[in-house]
């Protein structure tokens, strides 16, 4: 019954002391929050930590949510700041691992996968891989735009940028995705021949 309640109603129930309402709110948004966290962290363990931290922070400051923007927009802005703080902290902790290495590791992943699962390859698989290889901001913008049902203005609010900047970033991210997808698919075709 509660799953039919709107986000605002669930928030009101939560503020009234009903923790199961917050559980419903978490269930409703966890997949998207986790995916968004994955775009920044690039691995499941860190993404889980970020997503969990984000929901705890949201619970703590639920009273501050005034309902002027969508709850999802407010929540995603928490994901963004949490992820940024997490990555900054991680960068300080692991100075020996640079971005280049991470990039190489990610690029090696599909070839290892290729050897065993050629039949599973599809355009959508390559698309997901291409999104993973984008810069965190670009990957987040693509995800927010296509899966988060967020307008350019809402994405701008989430990421603390100008709407026009988001528009340019979205365009460039799509360009990079298209080029990478074409390159990967060409490579796959050569392998099959």
């Amino acid at each position: 019954m509660q799953s039919k309640l709107s986000d605002i109603e669930l928030i009101e129930h939560t503020l009234g002391g009903d923790q199961s309402a917050y559980a419903d709110l978490v269930k409703r948004h966890q997949r998207f929050v986790f995916t968004l966290a994955m775009r920044f962290a690039k691995n499941r363990e860190d993404a889980e930590e970020i997503a969990q931290d984000c929901f705890v922070k949201a619970y703590r400051s639920l009273q501050a949510f005034q309902g002027q923007a969508k709850f999802s927009t407010w929540l995603y802005s928490i994901v963004y700041t949490t992820a940024m703080t997490f990555l900054r902290k991680k960068r300080v902790d692991t100075t020996s691992i640079d971005d280049e290495m991470t990039c190489v590791q990610i690029e090696n992943k599909p070839s290892a996968y290729d050897a065993h699962n050629i039949e599973n390859k599809s355009r959508s698989y390559y698309l997901n891989m291409a999104i993973e290889q984008l810069l965190p901001d670009d990957a987040a913008i693509i995800t927010l735009f296509y899966k988060g049902e967020q307008s350019l203005e809402e994405i701008a609010q989430t990421l603390g940028m100008e709407a026009n900047t988001v528009k340019v970033k979205l365009f460039r991210a799509r360009q990079r995705l298209k080029e990478r997808l074409e390159r990967d698919l060409k490579h796959e075709a050569k392998e099959l021949i």
């Binding site: 923790q19 986790f34 995916t35």
Partner: protein, 169 residues
């Protein structure tokens, strides 16, 4: 920046003005290069809309709620004290001091002679055994008692709320 693709993405996203939209749809109809690029972008756009979201671990919701519960349980007493209680106590003292100052000012003899300034005489209150009947009839005392009663009820309400909190959590 590729202007053709930029225009086409704006067209696909619906971010153009009606005039631009009309011009681009005409270009798509008449220009083959435009049409091909448009079809390519349309396919990519449809594919991006079908991206699968990642699935968090099964116990994700449970872990979040556990973390919240643990945080609430470990909340230090200092943080658990309601700020309103502190404000209430502060208000009580401020009102009491204010009343005392007003009372003292009314008791001061401000009259001075023509020779110059003199320290104002302060009439010391006569020390008598308090007559409760007279004390409680004063408006000021009654208002202080009223404030005390309200504060008392306020604190009692706060205590009851805190006591009931673990039951609802």
């Amino acid at each position: 920046m590729n202007s053709i693709e930029e225009k086409l993405w704006n067209y696909i996203d619906g971010n153009c003005t009606p005039e631009e939209q009309q011009a681009i749809s005409l270009l798509i109809e008449q220009n083959e290069a435009y049409r091909n690029t448009y079809n390519e972008l349309l396919v990519l756009n449809a594919e991006m809309a079908t991206i699968e979201l990642d699935e968090p671990p099964m116990a994700f919701t449970y872990n979040v709620l556990e973390q919240i519960r643990a945080e609430q349980a470990h909340k230090p007493l200092k943080a658990a004290i309601d700020k309103r209680i502190i404000t209430g106590i502060a208000a009580f003292f401020l009102i009491s001091i204010g009343v005392l100052v007003i009372y003292m000012l009314t008791q001061i003899n401000w009259t001075s002679d023509s020779t110059g300034w003199r320290i104002p005489e302060i009439k010391a209150p006569e020390l008598k055994a308090p007559d409760l009947k007279n004390v409680f009839s004063g408006t000021i005392v009654q208002s202080i008692l009223f404030v005390d009663t309200v504060l008392g009820l306020f604190l009692f309400d706060g205590w009851l709320r805190r006591r009931n909190m673990p039951k609802t959590a």
